[in-house]
């Protein structure tokens, strides 16, 4: 009888673990945790697992299975099993969240390099649109005047860093992801805006429209974004930039 109780518990936990993914998928929140390229594969595998666990549970009920061969032990109840149960329940009951600006300070601010010139000319046929495009152009290039006057449309959140922000400029941040939230890397762009701290707070999502201009920030001439308008917006459906390859 003990085994049957444990088997049901094990199967329920496996099913609940599958349901975490299914729930996030139907809430359109799965991409807060993994890159979109994995969504289809993840859903297929979780559905297969649900069917198999379902078959097992139905068979056990139908055949009134009360025992299992000794060599197929499911192990003793342990702290690790409890940890799994807690993680699964937390995934089911807590609302899905993207990484916050707290994680920006935990992660190195890096810039991409892919063997191409640090300051490439902008292709007029496909001008940079995404945050990661501007991050690559402005943070890789040592020529602050190179992209002067270029129009920029960006969405990101306010990163309240005492080291980077000044009275008339702040950092707009966004995470880029190559696999899942565990490898999220923050990208930062400087927005020149007077008296920003009285209007915006940390983590607030903003839509910024403006142009690239050189400006002295912390004693260094830097390519910053001089906004025409800055509007608070709700967090977008896809708060991360997904690495394209």
């Amino acid at each position: 009888m003990k085994f049957i109780n444990k088997s049901y518990l094990v199967l329920t936990t496996i099913i609940l673990a599958n349901l975490v993914t299914v729930k996030l998928y139907f809430e359109n929140n799965l991409t807060l945790y993994i890159h979109p390229r994995y969504v289809l594969f993840t859903m297929i595998m979780n559905c297969i697992s649900l069917v198999i666990a379902g078959v097992f549970i139905v068979t056990m009920i139908a055949k009134k299975v009360h025992t299992t061969p000794n060599n197929l032990s499911l192990g003793r109840p342990s702290i690790v099993a409890l940890l799994l149960a807690c993680l699964v329940v937390a995934g089911l009951i807590f609302p899905a969240r993207s990484l916050s600006s707290t994680s920006v300070s935990q992660r190195t601010i890096t810039t991409n390099i892919d063997g191409e010139p640090a300051c490439p000319d902008i292709d007029e046929q496909s001008p940079p649109k995404e945050f990661q495009d501007w991050d690559r152009l402005l943070n890789n290039c040592d020529e602050p005047l190179k992209y002067q006057g270029r129009s920029v449309l960006l969405e990101g959140f306010v990163y309240d860093s005492h080291g980077l922000n000044t009275e008339d400029s702040f950092s707009l941040a966004r995470f880029k992801i190559s696999c899942c939230a565990v490898d999220a890397q923050p990208m930062l762009l400087t927005i020149a805006e007077q008296d920003w701290s009285s209007r915006f707070k940390a983590n607030q999502w903003l839509h910024v429209e403006g142009s690239v201009q050189p400006k002295w920030v912390n004693g260094k001439l830097t390519a910053v974004i001089e906004p025409k308008s800055v509007k608070p917006i709700p967090q977008p459906q896809d708060p991360y930039d997904f690495l394209k390859f």
Binding site: T59, A90, G91, R97, S105, R107, S178, V182
Partner: protein, 343 residues
Amino acid sequence: MLDTITITFRKYRHVAVGLLAFFTAYFLTSKLDTILIWFKVQSYSGYEDVISKLQDFLTIALSVFIESFPFLLLGTLISILVQRYISVELFRKLLPKRWLPRRLIMSFLGVFLPVCECGNVPLARSLMNRGASPGDALTFLLAAPILNPLVLLTTWQAFRFEESIVIGRFLAGFLIANLVAILVTTLLRNRNIVTDDFAKSCLVDDPHSHGASGFAQNFTVELWPMLKMLAFGAVIAAAVQMFVPRETLASVGADPFLGIITMILLGFIISICSNVDAFFALAFARTFTPGALTAFLVSGPMVDIKMVALLKTTFTTRAIILICSLVFSLSLLSGIIINQVIR
């Protein structure tokens, strides 16, 4: 009637308490924002930061879990197919008897199974179950996440401007996987490598494993220990990421020797899938030397926090410590050699 209700309630009281706890927790979390506002008024200003850290911790732990879970499921399915349809005799016939060609086949088995490293653990278990030695299984386990076409393609895409990293990754991956397997089997002898529980499970064939329900039963029994350890690995990886700032690691990036150690440590902490780790490493190309990047790309897929947790289902603690130490030292050596070669 009352008696029936009382008996039914007594019988299912655990389920009732569980459901009550679940819905109470659900109600509280659905009102989380209101509760937070209340706390913010009543409490001190650092509260918001703590909540934000906890939320990020949960997001990272769940992301590792959700990303790795399907690969673990796929690996478990393949491993059950191997156990059910390849008999021990057939397996012996298929594999060369001579040591060298057998290890070569094990090194390149990943070419046919381009899945994430965590999916290889159940498969390595089934290989041992079919009669492969721990050394053979270890060679496969360490080589497969690197020596497969998908990883080759993504590494080439990311580092086509620095061929030494691409070549270095695959050459070092092959050599380290084989060297570690040889050293571990020589130093520990075969019986001290796998746990007693796993060794026993390899000796007995399950008489009830026929048909769909048998398949489902095998699936559950194979998956369960690894699922538990995956959750454990995900939680530890998230905790380490939250409390060890990457800035600390990056500050030593420029040093050729310390840079390699740093990237090996980062690979251990980050627990990222080998299919895409080259793109993650790309972001560090300006700060770190090619040797450090190669060491990250070799060491990370072989051993990381998540993998150590999964290895614990099959290998002894002594074997895992030895595997990790050897992978770290040999990756460090490969990083130093690459830095010397391209200087």
